[in-house]
Symmetry: C2
Subunit: 143 residues, 2 copies
DNA sequence: GTAACTGCAAACCTTTTGCAGCTTG
DNA sequence: CAAGCTGCAAAAGGTTTGCAGTTAC
């Protein structure tokens, strides 16, 4: 089985070009909010691609180690979430009640990072911002 | 066994004033970075206070529900971290390598929140900012 | 052909839960 | 005394791992 979609991309990272990786990469690419390993797994299953959950975890882990994806634990569940490490640099806003996430544009942090860099003698490589509250639908029925 | 340290505080929240709660509250109070349930548990053990890990979890959960503490998953481990919900509103900076956390002063977000509030019709109740990179000690030996 | 990848099942680790006994107000 | 806490042990998630078989290069 072969899929050449991202062949160069994967091999340039020292990774074999497998269908699983291509599909998982695509799923991350198509989502503009972070997803759990299980969500990825279910999406693959829906599209009738047979895969094991532990393979999903392994691929996501590789993506994270290679810097292709980012891992986080937004929303304070006990699940990890994964998203593509996009250059455009997105942040998210999470509804406390329904846990839906929305992406927000813009990031006012670049200059603040520089300040911290010099002040703390800390080599800043990135940041993560999560804003939370109640979304349009949930704000009426908070409890 | 009794300890009146925070008696009024607890009873005003509808909570019984127990030694465990007082001690856990103190531990959170004395730490300026988030801690795991296990760290709290070990600290109590060190000081020869016998307690069960599940009790620690239960107390921390109550604190979170009452708004006394905040739960997060900074540093992308699979462990939850807890910190006091201080009014001063602190953020943290985490070293990717040694995972040490430092607290940083100030938060430039209040006005940005307002913008989002009106733009997305989202009722913002708070935010969490994590900045990461390499600390002074680790920046020399990154890998 | 070989190194890398995957499936499966079991192990692991963190967190939660049921229940019985104990404490606080 | 009653309601609320706690300890203990067991269960319940989520994630990782060992191993054997398969695939990409």
């Amino acid at each position: 089985m072969q899929n050449t979609d991202n062949k160069e991309f994967f091999t340039s990272q020292g990774l074999k070009n497998t269908k699983s990786r291509n599909l998982i990469y695509e799923i991350l690419e198509q989502s503009d909010v972070p997803v759990t390993a299980e969500q990825v797994y279910l999406k693959l299953k829906e599209s009738d691609f047979k895969i094991n959950l532990s393979t999903v975890y392994r691929i996501l882990e590789i993506f994270v180690n290679k810097g292709i994806a980012l891992k986080s634990n937004i929303a304070d569940s006990n699940k990890s979430m994964f998203e593509l490490n996009r250059m455009e640099h997105k942040h998210h806003i999470v509804c406390i009640k329904c846990k839906k996430m929305f992406s927000i544009e813009g990031c006012p942090f670049d200059e603040i990072e520089k300040k911290i860099q010099s002040k703390l003698d800390f080599d800043v490589t990135g940041h993560k911002l999560e804003i939370f509250g109640y979304c349009k639908d949930c704000k009426l029925i908070k409890k």
